[in-house]
Subunit: 196 residues, 2 copies
Amino acid sequence: MITSPSSVRRSERSRRAILQSALDLCTERGYGHVTIEAIAARAGVSKKTIYRWWPSKGAVLLEAFSDALIDATPFVDTGDIGADLRAHVAGAVKLLSVPPFGPAYAGILSELHHDDLLARRLREELVDPRVEEAIGRLRSAQEQGQIPPGADLPLAVEMLYGPVYYRHVLRKPVQDEETIATLVNHVLRSLRAPGY
Amino acid sequence: MITSPSSVRRSERSRRAILQSALDLCTERGYGHVTIEAIAARAGVSKKTIYRWWPSKGAVLLEAFSDALIDATPFVDTGDIGADLRAHVAGAVKLLSVPPFGPAYAGILSELHHDDLLARRLREELVDPRVEEAIGRLRSAQEQGQIPPGADLPLAVEMLYGPVYYRHVLRKPVQDEETIATLVNHVLRSLRAPGY
DNA sequence: AACGACACGACACGGTACGTTCCGTTTCCG
DNA sequence: CGGAAACGGAACGTACCGTGTCGTGTCGTT
């Protein structure tokens, strides 16, 4: 997320304080009260310093959220694709269910429509790579015979992610473990079943 | 969407001018430039008049968008559930692909995180009723033997809507007809296939 | 060790949109 | 025909935006 100067003289202290302050504000007062001015005040930092390294508050939160999501939803391979997908989706659901990460991601998504740069960054730096990883995990299962050869793996990933994140956008209560398991099972079934 | 006074003396002329101006601004200048002040100026209306009947600009656009979506995606029953679902989803995709409705809906979704009232209204007045209608259409197919008796119909609806709308949020290029057909087929397969 | 470049905190600026209030006018119900 | 209510217009203070300026301090360079 580092933007232009990319200098070695950047203050790591300020960077951490900014990211942490942004998340704290998100927890305590909600995304709507996360403003550049509030972040600067809480972090003991000049607004100029924030604008020097990030183009918007969405970009600040994307950097903070991105690390958390990657940690919370690793792509493991235990050999059981069903169990692995359940654990993966459950990780995302759990992360989204607790402040500041749920509100932070909702807020980031809410900026996309008027912030082309942020939208591109979210896709290129977070969504697309993770979709690729998910496809990779499915392909591995495919090679082990758990998924038929001709299956539409990219579509499968969308059918997994789509409901989870769209529900988050609509602010419906998050799914429980059983719902996740049912979703994963249905997606896998749709790949295995004979053509329509 | 009428809020408090609910008076018969309300100016229908102003109401129409406000809704149309909001959509026009969305088309011409983008959702970001749709402000209460801009709507009022274009509609030749006082800001007070807008605030009297709607709590926010999101509520104004929701009223305008809601009518359009309901018109564009009817739930028909030709007896072929696959064809009907394809037509239904295609209607939604097509509506979202053209201004002002695509940007308008993205903008409405972007307000949900800081506007509890708007979120509730969207769910109660648009999303939930349409989910129910979709379930109803699936149940009809179920009674005709096109879908097994024990199928999880609510989940099926989420698997249909989730990918379409989440892609819209992420601003990925909209799906083509073939992708829609594949999605519908997979969802129907997941209902028909034997348990995992 | 001295220099010079650059990130830093601070503060002030004009601009925009917010949501509210007041006023005088118009419209329509009773 | 009288009065209540919605109306358009204008102005208000507040909040945050993104930018500019300035003096300070801290690093690399020589």
